[in-house]
């Protein structure tokens, strides 16, 4: 392959999750004012950091994601959640860029969250873990990025909740990023978005097994979490994609006149829900949806103020059939960029996949991200 000049598109190969632990004696102060004495961040990296440390890209995951964005864990058959976008020759070309992905604080995949052990009680935190915000997630990522020896990231990119983190980076650390790629996201959660999250939370909390968040040594609230995930999945798909995938298809030809899983769409949602509970913590679902609902970068400011002092160049991407984070919300981000004379590129990718498109339409995303990143690197290296 080396002799061919250009490498083929591939996977980063076998990867491992690593852990950053905040040094003893330091404190991590949350937006709420609560101080954490321990902070652990699970992360993975792909590619090599160059000698000038100018090629680092941070990928921020969405609600159900984790640090394992690409490549394979030994023994697994399924690659990381954005393997289509990260690897040699891909949008985030690991032969050019040093790609980092970290599990968010409040998550359940290795970073500090409600299922980690509280050093004071030596039992899982549960609801005694403090409420976290998108800004806290970003502050924790900043600690990790500094630990990795990077002063300024070439780019921060993410979809959905990951997009919120990317936007938060631009505002919280304008000196620390060269570019920002928010995908299928919004600068604030709308009433509709909060409403769907609340249905998910209520489903979890209505499950008797939830037990006020104290269930780690007992049965987990799997039914509640599965229902929350089912509601989520409905919002991630579009009317068109559901119609195409399921229509009114049934498992059996005849109606059963009973309350079993008869329609294919019911079976699909159940399957998604049941699978989710195997890999996700119900309390984490509460914490992360709450963090999204609290997210409002604008606050009382006018839109023109949103990106005052922001220096990053932007690539904003939305999807035509995404009704959970509709294109108009991305257009508002673009508008705020324009108002501040920020270098911005915006594309509404036409897709039938709804909000899920950000994980599925990787060919179109690649066309945009690849050239945007290489242009950004050229500017930085100038």
């Amino acid at each position: 392959m080396a002799g061919e000049g250009k490498s083929k598109k591939g996977t980063p190969g076998y990867v491992e999750t690593r852990y950053y632990n905040m040094p003893a004696g330091e404190e991590f102060v949350l937006e709420s004012g609560v101080r954490l004495k321990e902070l652990r961040i699970a992360y993975e990296t792909y590619g090599e950091l160059n000698s000038r440390r100018t090629n680092a890209v941070l990928i921020c995951h969405a609600l159900s994601g984790d640090a394992h964005a690409a490549g394979l864990h030994k023994g697994d058959k399924k690659p990381g959640w954005w393997d289509d976008m990260i690897g040699p020759g891909k949008a985030f070309d690991t032969e050019q860029y040093f790609v980092i992905c970290a599990n968010v604080i409040g998550g359940c995949k290795g970073s500090s969250g409600p299922n980690s052990i509280n050093p004071a009680t030596e039992r899982p935190y549960g609801l005694s873990f403090p409420i976290v915000t998108i800004s806290d997630m970003v502050d924790a990522q900043k600690k990790l990025v500094e630990f990795l020896g990077i002063k300024k990231l070439l780019s921060v990119c993410g979809g959905s909740m990951g997009g919120m983190q990317a936007l938060q980076w631009a505002v919280s650390y304008p000196e620390s990023i060269h570019s920002c790629i928010p995908i299928a996201t919004s600068y604030k959660h709308s009433a509709q978005q909060i409403a769907f999250d609340e249905v998910g939370r209520q489903a979890i909390m209505a499950d008797p097994a939830w037990n006020g968040g104290d269930y780690y040594e007992k049965d987990h609230p799997s039914r509640g979490l599965a229902v929350a995930r089912m509601v989520g999945h409905i919002t991630y798909m579009s009317q068109q994609s559901m119609e195409q995938k399921f229509g009114r298809m049934m498992k059996k030809k005849e109606l059963g006149y009973e309350f079993t899983t008869e329609f294919e769409v019911e079976g699909y949602l159940r399957y998604r829900g049941d699978n989710f509970v195997k890999r996700f913590d119900a309390n984490s679902y509460l914490y992360l949806t709450k963090a999204m609902d609290y997210f409002d970068l604008l606050g009382d400011q006018k839109l023109a103020q949103l990106f005052k002092g922001v220096k990053a160049r932007f690539l904003v991407i939305a999807f035509s059939s995404d009704w959970l984070y509709p294109p108009f919300q991305s257009k508002e981000v673009v508008k705020a960029c324009k108002m501040n004379g920020i270098d911005v590129t915006y594309c509404e990718i036409s897709s039938d996949y709804g909000h899920d498109a950000f994980l599925l339409e990787f060919e179109e995303e690649t066309k945009l991200v690849k050239h945007f990143l290489s242009r950004t690197l050229k500017k930085v290296e100038k």
Binding site: K331, M339, V344, T345, C347, S350, H371, K378
Partner: protein
């Protein structure tokens, strides 16, 4: 499509516009298409350029060229920019497709210090002949569409545009008129297929 038919012509457009734009300035190209003009200005004039474009496919081509471009239509794309953000706002062969040209031009003059507008002349001799003798709506090299498939919403002549500028108190800094063979100096409203105006509020 029509663009490839008129490629030579368009390239000449680009050169003429290139001569109007000072090096190292900021440019907004409204309806930038595949970004050929913007790329030409970035490479030859070292401008800081950005575009607005409605076609998704064209956006990919612009991004591939390293250009910054916002997906959207011209009518709504202008309002969001602050006053005097750009040295030049360009409408090359796109003004006739805008829903509200007057508003677009006035908005462009707000956000840009100078505005460059290139449009096909509807009253070129060939077109007048077609209306007068053949009795049909003209199809010319600069207006190559039939009535049922034209993207053009507005039809204007060089004279119409000059009258508009006078009425609106807009200064014409420079105007260049083009035929298939080159620059037209004699009776442009009769002989030019395309016109390029550089206007300002000065």
């Amino acid at each position: 499509m029509a663009a490839s038919k008129r490629k030579e012509d368009l390239r000449f457009d680009h050169k003429v516009i290139g001569e109007m734009v000072k090096p190292g300035t900021t440019v907004l190209d409204m309806g930038c298409g595949d970004g050929d003009l913007l790329e030409y200005l970035v490479l030859s004039k070292d401008v800081r350029g950005s575009g607005v474009e409605i076609s998704e496919e064209a956006i990919y081509k612009c991004v591939e060229k390293g250009l910054s471009v916002a997906h959207g239509d011209i009518d709504s794309g202008l309002k969001e920019y602050p006053d005097n953000l750009f040295d030049y706002v360009i409408f090359n062969q796109t003004m006739q497709q805008v829903h509200k040209p007057k508003e677009a031009i006035l908005e462009a003059l707000r956000i840009g210090k100078e505005v460059i507008i290139g449009f096909p002349n509807f009253c070129v001799l060939k077109a007048r002949f077609q209306i007068f003798f053949a009795g049909h709506v003209p199809v010319t090299p600069s207006l190559p569409y039939t009535w049922y498939d034209t993207p053009n919403l507005h039809f204007l002549s060089i004279k119409d545009f000059e009258v508009f500028c006078r009425e609106q108190g807009i200064t014409v800094e420079k105007s260049v008129f083009l035929s298939e063979k080159g620059i037209v100096r004699f009776m442009p409203n009769l002989f030019a297929l395309n016109a390029i105006f550089q206007i300002s509020r000065k």
